[in-house]
Symmetry: C2
C-alpha cells in the first residue's frame, strides 16, 4: 500500500496538518509502535490480530473444507463474521458468495429461493455460537435445506469459538469446524478462517491473500515516514483532532465496495468511544461524484476524504464515436476515464481546501486485498493508541442486545423496560 | 409516512430540540410552505419536482416501452439518473434490474458477461446527453451487444432532454424516447420516466408508485405538526443547527438499501452548500448494529440517526430449536426479531442521549416507495428553505468535470493544470 498525504497538509487543507506537527506526531507514532510490537510479540488480546498473517494456516483451512464440493457459498454471520469474508471474495472477483447478514424475512426468502441449495455450502460464523441474528438465520437456512430435500450436514462449515451451541452442534453432526482465533476481535479476524473460508470453498488461492498481508506486516516501522499504514492512521487521527470528524471512504473500484463496508466497521467500532472516533461515510468513486462531491467540496470542513484505487486494472477500451463533443472519450479506456475522475476529484477537493488522502495498491487481487486488510487494521490499532481508547472492545452495543433479548424472550431486562417507556411525539 | 420525533427532543437527546423551539420552528415551516406551494403552483425550477406525482403519466411511460419485450433491464446512468430507478425496483422486490453507474472496466466486463443481452433492455439516461461516464458506458454497452450479435436498437429506451447527442441518436435510430421533465433536477426526478422506466419495462405497476406519492403530496400542510415530511425536514435542520452534522440513515429492510443511497444524494447534493448540510452516512439495520452502533452510542454527539422501517412484512418463522439459550428465538419470526432490534437500537440511542427519529411506512411496496420518495423530497426542499441554500443546483461539481475533461481530452483547462500541480507527500 502506498499513501500520499500531500492534500492533508495545512498548506493545502483546512483542517490540515503542518509539516512541523507531523514531526511531533512521529514521536507519538514511535511510542505507539513499541506498544503495538510488544502486544504482537506477547500475542496480547487485540494486538494478536496483527499476527494472523503468520499464524493463520491456509493449508489447514483448505484441508478442512476440501471435501465440500460446491459452486456457491452462503455465509451466515453478521458484522465481523461477514464483512471480512465478503471483502476477500469481492476483491477476488468471485460472484458466487452470498450473505445472510441481516434478519430481514423478505430478503431471506428471496435469497434462499434464488440459490441451488444442492450446490451451495453454508458457512456459519459466530464466535460465541449465540449471536441472535446468526443463529436465527441458521435455523431458517437449515429448514430451507430440509424443505428442498438437501442434506445441510454435508455442506455446512462452522467457524466458531472453542465452546458454545455452534461448537456442540458441529461436534454432534461431524461438521468441518474452524476456530475463531484467540485474542482477535471479530472485526480484526478477516485474515483468519473467519474471512478466508468462503474463498477457500470456492477454490481461490487464500495463501496469496496472507502473503499480501505479510508483506504489509513486514513494512511496520516506528516512523510514519517509513510505514504507509501508520502514516494513514496518524494523519487521520491528527485531522480528527483538528475537526475532521467524518471519514468519507471512497474507493474507486466496484470490487472494493465491501472493503469500504469492512473499513466502516473497523473504524467505527474500534475508535467510536469516549466521545471520540471519526464517523465513517461509505462512498464509491466515480459514482458518488454525482452524489456526495457537492457536499464534500462545499459543505463543512469536517471531513477527511480517503480516496483508494488500484494502480492497474483489466481495462476496456471505449469504442470510438463520431458524435460531436464525445469524440474525446473514444481515444480513452474506461480505466483511464476512471483514473482521470479520481485525480480530478482529489484535486477538486484540494482546490476547495478539503483534506484528502490518496491510498493505492498495485491491483485489486488476492495480494492487494491482503495488503489493504492488514494495513488498515494496523492503521486503526495505531489510531486507537494515539487517541487513547480501548480499540478492541465494543461495550456500547451490549445495551441493545439486552433490550432485544428482553423484548423477544420474555426475559425481564431493565433495557426492555426502557424500550417500552419510549417518549413518543408522533406526526401522522 | 409516519414520523416519531420523541427521541429528538431535548428532554431525551443532546443535541435535542425543545418543545418551545419546535413551536418557533413551526412559524418558519409555515412560511417555507408558502414559498414551496407557490413554487409548485408556478412550476418554478426545482419546486416543479413536487408536481411529478400529478404530471407524470404512467400510461405514457408504459405505452412508450410496450414493444420492448425483455426479462431484465440494464440502466446506464449515474447519480440522479440511476439511484431513483434502482430505489423503485428494489422496493418492488425486482431482482432483474442491473446498473452501470460507474466506469469501472472490470465491473463492466463482469456485468456484461453475466447478462443474456438478447433478453436485456438498455435504459440509458442523461439529461444533457453528454454525461461522460454514461456516454462512455453506453458506447461500451452498444459494442457488447454488437459483439454478441444482438440488435441493441430493438431493446434500447432513451430518457433524455429535448436536445443533445442522446436525443439525436434516439431520433436517428427511432428508439423509444422519454423526456427528463423540465424544471426537475436529476436527484428529484425519481417520480418521472427517469425513475420509472425500468420498473415499467419489467411489468410493474408504476401507477401505484405515483399513487403513493400523491397521497404524500396531499399531506403537505403548513405546520410540522400536521405533515410528517416537514416534521422530518424541520427537525433534521434544527438538530443540524445544534450540532448534528451527520445524518446516519438506517433503514431496517434490505429492499430499502438503494433508498438510503438515493437519500444520501438528495441530502448531500441539495443541502451541502455554503459550509452547511448534514453528511449522510448510509447504514442498514439490523446489520450495522454490529458495525456502527458502538460509535453512534459512544462517539460524539454530532449525529442524527434516522431509523426507517415498514410496519408490515412478508414474515418468516424461525424454526424451533432445543439448543439451550436459543429457544427464545424459536417462538419468534425473523420480522419480530428485526422489529425488536429496531426498537432496542432506538432506545439504546435514546438511553445514550443520541438524537434519533423514527420513520415508518405501511409496507415496502409500490405505494410505500412512492410515499418515501415524495416525502423525503419534500423534507429536503423544506430543509433547503430553512437553512437558506440553493436546493436545486450543484455548482461545486463543475470543477472536477472540467478537470477530468482536460485530463482526458487534451483540451487545456485550468483545472487540469491544477491536477498536474499536485503537492505530493508520499509514504511507500
Amino acid at each position: 500500500m502506498r499513501v500520499d498525504i500531500g492534500n492533508a497538509l495545512s498548506e493545502t487543507a483546512t483542517p490540515g496538518v503542518s509539516v512541523d506537527a507531523l514531526d511531533r506526531l512521529d514521536d507519538a507514532v514511535a511510542e505507539a509502535h513499541e506498544t503495538i510490537a510488544a502486544g504482537m510479540a506477547n500475542a496480547t488480546f487485540g494486538y494478536a490480530s496483527l499476527n494472523l498473517p503468520e499464524t493463520t494456516s491456509a493449508a489447514g483451512i483448505e484441508r478442512a473444507v476440501a471435501d465440500v464440493d460446491v459452486d456457491a457459498v452462503l455465509t451466515v454471520g453478521i458484522g465481523g463474521s461477514a464483512l471480512g469474508a465478503r471483502t476477500v471474495t469481492a476483491g477476488l472477483g468471485e460472484p458466487n458468495h452470498h450473505l445472510l447478514d441481516n434478519v430481514d424475512p423478505e430478503h431471506a426468502t428471496r435469497l434462499l429461493d434464488s440459490l441451488d441449495l444442492s450446490r451451495t455450502a453454508v458457512n456459519v460464523v459466530s464466535r460465541s455460537g449465540t449471536t441472535a441474528e446468526t443463529l436465527a438465520n441458521f435455523l431458517v437456512v437449515r429448514d430451507a435445506y430440509e424443505a428442498a430435500g438437501v442434506d445441510w450436514t454435508e455442506r455446512t462449515v462452522v467457524t466458531t469459538g472453542s465452546s458454545g451451541p455452534l461448537a456442540d452442534l458441529a461436534d454432534e453432526e461431524g461438521l468441518p469446524t474452524l476456530s475463531v482465533p484467540e485474542g482477535v476481535p471479530g472485526r480484526f479476524a478477516a485474515l483468519s478462517a473467519v474471512g478466508l473460508v468462503p474463498a477457500a470453498l470456492l477454490g481461490h488461492d487464500i495463501e496469496a491473500v496472507l502473503a499480501g498481508a505479510r508483506e504489509a506486516r513486514d513494512g511496520l516501522a516506528g516512523s510514519l515516514h517509513d510505514c504507509p499504514a501508520y502514516a494513514y492512521g496518524a494523519v487521520a487521527t491528527a485531522l480528527e483532532r483538528r475537526g475532521a470528524h467524518t471519514n468519507a471512504f471512497m474507493p474507486y473500484a466496484e470490487a472494493l465496495e465491501p472493503f469500504a463496508e469492512w473499513f466502516a466497521q473497523l473504524w467505527a467500532e474500534s475508535l467510536g468511544k469516549d466521545g471520540q472516533g471519526q464517523t465513517p461515510a461509505r462512498a464509491l468513486g466515480a459514482t458518488d461524484q454525482h452524489s456526495q462531491l457537492q457536499l464534500y467540496r462545499a459543505g463543512r470542513h469536517d471531513k477527511l476524504v480517503t480516496l483508494v484505487r488500484p494502480r492497474e486494472r483489466a481495462d476496456r477500451a471505449i469504442p470510438a464515436t463520431d458524435v460531436e463533443g464525445l469524440s474525446y472519450l473514444g481515444d480513452a479506456t474506461l480505466g483511464e476515464l476512471l483514473d482521470a475522475e479520481f485525480e480530478a476529484t482529489e484535486a477538486s477537493l484540494a482546490a476547495a481546501g478539503q483534506p484528502n488522502v490518496r491510498v493505492e495498491v498495485d491491483r485489486v487481487d488476492a495480494a492487494g486485498i491482503g495488503d489493504l486488510l492488514f494495513s488498515f487494521e494496523a492503521a486503526c490499532v495505531l489510531a486507537g493508541e494515539l487517541i487513547g481508547v480501548e480499540t478492541f472492545t465494543q461495550p456500547a452495543v451490549e445495551w441493545g442486545k439486552n433490550a432485544a433479548r428482553g423484548l423477544l424472550g420474555g426475559e425481564k431486562t431493565a433495557e426492555a423496560d426502557a424500550v417500552r417507556g419510549k417518549r413518543e411525539f408522533r406526526i401522522e
